[in-house]
Symmetry: C2
Subunit: 171 residues, 2 copies
């Protein structure tokens, strides 16, 4: 396969993949484009590369920056802004975990606490099922919270080393 074809393929696949995880297709495609680009790209190059409008490119680049996956790069002598993506996929994964945790898990935990305090007779089957389920989710979430914090803090070496060995050794 030629490079251009392979790039197009990868961009399409990454876009499809993102869609499954609640990320908009274009955002994932821009990410893919930057991931395989040797140099930072300008907004115009992104527009050109994916055949999208200026507004769309701008909005999704901003979103990628909000996620901490893409950065603005200033090139000396150039008026334009350029964009580049972190290419180390372990760092990318850690960053995504960090953001999702912040946006979702950290929001959900107080809500679960509130829900677990529902009024009613605890001998009532309906009440018991509800509180049991909520508490089960709550414990899970709190554990996930701690675990993910550790993963976020962990450096790559530990991540690749200890964790992997732990799991591998259990096989």
């Amino acid at each position: 396969m030629q490079l251009a074809e392979a790039k197009a393929q990868f961009i399409a696949d990454w876009g499809r993949f993102g869609t499954n995880w609640g990320i908009n297709r274009t955002m994932a495609q821009i990410h893919a484009l930057l991931l395989v680009s040797p140099d930072p790209l300008s907004a115009d190059e992104v527009m050109e590369g994916l055949a999208i409008s200026r507004g769309n490119a701008n909005m999704n680049l901003r979103e990628l920056m909000d996620w901490g996956l893409v950065q603005k790069v200033l090139i000396p002598g150039e008026r334009k802004e350029f964009f580049s993506a972190e290419k180390d996929i372990w760092k990318v994964a850690r960053q995504i975990i960090k953001e999702r945790k912040k946006r979702e898990l950290d929001q959900m935990i107080p809500v679960l606490k509130e829900l677990s305090e529902v009024e009613g007779d605890k001998k009532d089957k309906a009440v018991k099922t509800f509180t049991d389920t909520i508490n089960n989710i709550r414990k899970f979430s709190e554990q996930a919270d701690k675990t993910l914090d550790t993963m976020i803090k962990a450096d790559e070496h530990w991540f690749l080393g200890s964790l992997v060995k732990l799991f591998a050794g259990k096989n």
Copy 2:
């Protein structure tokens, strides 16, 4: 908060949460409804509970069964089919991991292998960046594949026990 209100809240939250992860809102809401229901529900009760159509209920219940999160339950003497959800959230998480792995990671690995074999001069910066990035993603995916397999196989005790302790100890 009263039970009915708390249930409604939880259903809405779980639906919103699902949406962020590429799961359709109704599917997540049906899941939530069944999670907090003490007894299995009929299709009519699901329709009624969420104010959705028969077609919608049917389609999303089937999807939940495909994901292995919901099961048909036959109640003696009843003509209707009833549905119930696994309530142990650790089991739910494991099932979701298992399915997503099958549907996505296992699909992606061969594609990455193919892409990593792109033709071209390896001294060409564009080619090198592409193959390096793809190989990085490939290694990550293969590691994730192994790790997730172990997690899927792990029994709950180990999951709650060793892993939790491991991470907790690192804090």
